[in-house]
Subunit: 357 residues, 4 copies
């Protein structure tokens, strides 16, 4: 199950320390102009070593397109791309061969497959998310044509949260700081918190929020294919995700119907809209034309620069202490991944809806 | 997309006020003993009119099995079942023909399909969840054979939450009270809160929690088929769901790695286990043999016995006020639905894992 | 795998002697007018007991629609229908409980599932094809709207074949005779051959041909989803099918390129067409706008009114002789099944192509 | 739809004259020893330029494995591989930019996508089949472990056919001659026929046959997933395929039941077998443990070294004459492709069957 989507499908492959990671995008409409700068820029947003808040592993992470593009346009054929692994230092990982790192996938992969590629987490490495980001860039190229845009940002790190909801901020500002938070003051506090954690060899988690604008009404498929169910699956498939909520989410759910309902109104130009948007742009699993927004919780990265108790693959008690290049907080780099998965999901359902018209 | 699952697949059909609802379960292993009492009991748990906290619509909700069972056992052929709609009163819904009820699916279905069955929400009605409950009963029959059990309960209503985590309670007790909460004192408070809301023509939401016990390590499929991503999709596909989290969830995500990691330990009998279970039984998307637990937020039902502003299907402003049989709180009846979707998901991944052995 | 199709999906259920057979059609466009007379007529074409050439089991075979249709139109919700089994005489089949009938599925089902429903073949019975015919009727309702029509006919029985290709005949005439062959003289010979076989307790097979007219260019999906690959799968899934070929088929394949190529020409009104159509309307797996035509070989039914050697389920040698109601030739009743599977396939690819526009 | 299979899935990508072709195999069991020599050998069997009967384009066609293999074994992660295109001479194809070659996919791709990669057929090129051959080599590595072997051979070219059925020959001999026919005398006649066609700038087609040995009973999924329906789809997805039949096929279908049925017998060692095998190893869509055998018809390649009438992309009448490297007969190189698609199909259903045990 390394394929995602219904009629727009991404197949992902590759391990952290294998020859290359890559993906195949099937079902992309033909005739979409391929924007290589966007592809490059998105990969740079996810790339390690961007700032002192992220791992210092510095991979160039350049994608080579192998198929599906001809004379600058998509052809309808599957678009395959690869990103070579350069900065591998596999020997660094020899110590991991026989240790199950706490809260990593070492133990479960071994139980599932009977063996594992221990080098940097192998297939379970968050490095896999570069595949999603590259594919998401292609999805964005198509969505742009349909007037749909997607913007994610860090809304909470540890105990520091954005004080207001997303409508209070200029979301484009979030790219100007290291944590990708659209409020400078909050960003500064988040940054301090992350640096404190890092200084102690610890890690910290938080919440990424995302807004989809310009999405027409009608996307989403009852019953099991509700748009928010698909978004939940997409987001929860990202490494370290622990929770998903849309619209007024958990907090709104614990309120009263009289406070949570969104009244329909007619606008001056005759459109039907909702007066409020606690529904997060989705009602009955189908988009209603309002902004779609949701939150994704990411746990603190499990790799600590501290000693932890664990066991070897034979079950012998041992201690494990990571060294080297590790993110004290995955949030900033998760932002483009969230956008990418949202873009793939929305484009898939957009195309699906076209088929019924 | 009325089909759920990978190699165990449920196809659901039916509208609230059509002839019948039903489902087809494909991929069920052959030779499973069919427990008609369990099927009946599960449908009764979901049935409306169980108590004064739920809608007084009293459907008998008996399933007729049409295929796939022979001499008391599953045959490997698809199991089809139907539940006839009896207590329809479609005329009650004539008033809805031209009104878009706030925070329902009336508007979005119309935008998607160009028309809608307005009788009781048609396909978008929560009555569809009886299909899941019936199918889930079959999944439980198979899971029982493999030693896996599933138990859900109401853990929060409005501001009233269970004070401790699930390990502090005897979960089987939850079926003894109307709200399906395993703590009697908390249940009483939740019940009061729901009755207050009802008295004011209002509704209230909350959280259902679920625990899967006895699940072997190794279930779940990297990368996009992570077990928690599949559970998220399953749960978010239930009517009124607004959020999903597993293990330590949103709260744990906003903590530190040093507090969230689960150390591996060797037990007296030589098994590898985790000392704590903040991971919620899933690491890297694959079950690790510990309890799987998660929360699902359900919004307050949008049908209020109060006047609300809305528009007609022509966009004319109007007022809408529901009458008759409506749940002031969907949580108690969502409990068996959450269990059913969990059972279908876990069995699907259990069978999938068998294929690789 | 009781589901067929990509974005138009039929899920089939039911056994020959269970309570009912039926299907769920998911992905049908909303707003299609439901033609109950067509549905009825198609089921009558497949029904047993139509003539002395077919089994005398006389089921009324009326479909009850359970969902997905409202006020005479499809709603976009799944369309479920059932056909009750009335004329079951299960006791007739007690003799089959412990016998593996030659060239039936008794043995293989037992090997696959560890048990089987022996009544009339259970799930493997050709009675399942009524589900396809009912679903195909719905597909035809949609295709009619898009100007696409489908016509199948018997082109060969035993050694008697239609002397010319399909363009020489008025295909609508085929419904006027018992064998469903568009040439009266050939039909008479086929009929004699079948009656001779019947008189000897034997059965005879042959070929059904099918023509799809009005299909636009562009349907079909490279690489694995070639239109003729999908048609092959659809046709070979019909009980008793042994072979599939399209366009000039096996015979043309054994010829020369210079004789088999279809030249492109421009017609008087400026259209691009092919001068000949050995390609059968499909080039590179994609429809080219010409008639799509193909042949399906159906083996002689394995149920003989003669003694045959076989073994019991314990492997003991025994003799088996069928009694009662059995078709001496399945061809006439396979004709509507071939049309139905073609209709479902073409509509699925038509809708898929819409999604990319 | 560039993905093939149910739980073993091959995703194919690449164009004839793009940077590379390749595939991703998902669902391969972990722990399978990777036999690089087999992979290499299979690609060599399909490679152009093997003999004077095939195109003289001489690509080295070496596969690079990018993922899913670690220390010589499959890991359960997706196996991605690429084959770079070297000998491209794209300029050779400039003449094709505005011409629709007869019986190629030029016209239909243009109608489907609105544009096309004209270089050597782009995605529609038979060069894509190298992806299948490479993936099939992996499938064979797994099947070998389960005792299943697959052997294809050329059984007919033009009017020259093998005089006896496959059981009369030592199939391994077929690799010793250029046409891959297991009978030397027949092979010589086929070779002459192909050389005659080539001398006249013509092409010739025929039939490839395939035998699967050692396949256990129980593979195949009723109703739509019948094993022969899946094989039909797999085979018809190969470039130039025009027909598929299994067991006694078209000829047997036009016979009598009394001659076509396979009696069950008990062997000396107590096994249940069939006395004959007209069923081709499949009954009711499920393997019965006998040899599975089938035929695939391949049309004469449409590229002639002769002038043909056609039109330009504007519909203007023109003449087209191919030059250069083209196969006068695709059969010899189709043999490994048929084996590969059979291997992928059988392994997929083998794994699927494991899931129900």
């Amino acid at each position: 199950m390394n394929t995602f989507g219904n009629i727009l499908r991404l197949t992902s492959f590759g391990e952290s320390h294998g020859a290359a990671l890559g993906g195949v995008i099937d079902g992309m409409p033909a005739g979409i102009s391929v924007d290589m700068e966007l592809l490059h820029a998105e990969l740079q947003r996810r790339r390690p070593g961007q700032s002192r808040l992220t791992t210092s592993r510095t991979e160039p992470d350049e994608a080579e397109i192998l198929s599906g593009v001809f004379e600058g346009k998509t052809t309808g054929a599957p678009i395959a791309f690869i990103v070579r692994n350069h900065n591998q230092r596999s020997a660094d990982y020899d110590a991991l061969r026989d240790v199950f790192r706490p809260s990593h996938a070492d133990y479960t992969y071994t139980m599932k497959y009977g063996l594992r590629d221990h080098r940097g987490g192998g297939r379970s490495s968050a490095r896999e998310t570069l595949v999603r980001v590259a594919a998401g860039a292609f999805a964005k190229m198509a969505l742009r044509k349909y007037g749909i845009s997607i913007k994610a940002f860090t809304s909470r790190v540890g105990s520091v949260a954005l004080p207001h909801d997303y409508t209070s901020y200029d979301l484009s500002v979030s790219e100007l700081n290291m944590v990708r938070c659209p409020d400078e003051a909050t960003a500064a506090k988040m940054q301090s918190l992350i640096e404190e954690a890092k200084a102690q060899g610890d890690t910290i988690g938080g919440i990424v929020s995302c807004v989809v604008s310009g999405c027409p009404a009608g996307l989403g498929e009852p019953v099991f294919g509700k748009l928010h169910a698909a978004l939940a699956s997409a987001m929860m498939s990202i490494n370290a995700a622990k929770g998903f909520e849309y619209g007024s989410g958990f907090e709104g759910a614990c309120g009263y119907g009289s406070e949570q309902n969104d009244s329909f109104v007619r606008t001056a130009n005759g459109e039907i809209r909702t007066a409020t948007n606690r529904s997060g742009g989705i009602q009955g699993g189908i988009s209603n034309g309002e902004d779609i927004y949701f939150n994704v919780a990411f746990k603190p990265a499990p790799t600590l620069l501290r000693k932890q108790n664990t066991v070897t693959s034979n079950g012998e008690p041992t201690e494990f202490c990571a060294h080297g290049r590790h993110d004290p907080c995955v949030l900033p780099r998760a932002v483009p991944v969230v956008e990418a998965m949202a873009a793939l999901t929305i484009l898939d359902f957009f195309l699906l809806q076209e088929s019924y018209k």
